[in-house]
Amino acid sequence: MSRSLRIAAAGIVAFGTLYALILAVLNAPQMQVNLPQQVALNLEQSGIDHPITAVLLNFRSYDTLLEVAVLLVAVVTGLALRERDALTAHTEQARDPMLHALTRRLLPLLLITSVYILWSGSYAPGGAFQAGALVAAAGVIARLAGYDIASRADVLLRLGLALGFILFLTVAVSAMFGGRPFLNYPEGWAGSLIFLIEAVLTFSIGLTLISLFVHAPGDSSPRGGDDDD
């Protein structure tokens, strides 16, 4: 009885949401500011030719800084919840030779692609987040194939996790020494500083996602599902 009551209540809430959202979408007021025009007007000064990267790391870099902070908080919580005995060196073992060979050839390709995407972010679609996701994908593939990168380089991992946020914050604060406001790049340096920040962010985002995957509690092996132990 309580289950059908629950479904009915949920249905009412969902219909209310749908009605309100459709009404809001159809009767949305006209925006006062023409944002695409504003971006196009200021694109010259940003030091970046691709509008989305310019928005992410110059016009609205405050959001991106806080986002990196959110990622850092998430990974610190994830690391705090891991189990000490979950990962040891002996989980690394030679498995399927085919998988082994394929992974060996695939990993460098993935890393090269991520560097290309990072580089192309300054003039075409691409950038730190997509490249970071590719790095993370490479790490996850390596983990699934049996390589244990994370426990080999524990100190490096921790440094790498925080490096993106630290560098971003350093650049943001150092602008204040020159009498400029917070998060304001010095003239002429914006392009190269943004690229430096992006490169480090790629590394940190990739490591963050990898370590959230690798240090998850329980049996991390994908084959653990159906095999009996």
Partner: protein, 94 residues
């Protein structure tokens, strides 16, 4: 009606569907899936609605890009907590 407005409407339908699924499903992982899809619906509205008015708009696209990355890290953290809960003897489908 432009395609941007159409996708904004699709996004609102998806949000409503996932609100329903989030409230009714019992398994914690299914709740998490519903929450993820709700986020995707919100992203669709966020990109579709401004583009309906002004054409291609890089500002909401950049915000959604950060949103996608935050969503995946939040999901990963939620899954870590779920696994810890199950290992401690909890039942994922109360």
């Amino acid at each position: 009606m432009t395609i941007d407005l159409w996708y904004a409407i699709v996004g609102s339908i998806i949000v409503a569907l996932s609100v329903f699924a989030f409230l009714t499903s019992r398994h914690l992982m299914k709740k998490l899936l519903a929450f993820n899809i709700m986020g995707s619906g919100v992203f669709l509205i966020m990109v579709g609605l401004p583009q309906h008015q002004h054409g291609v708009d890089p500002v909401p696209q950049a915000l959604v890009l950060t949103g996608i990355v935050v969503a995946v890290s939040a999901t990963a953290l939620a899954l870590v907590i779920l696994r810890r809960y199950v290992r401690a003897g909890g039942n994922p489908a109360p």
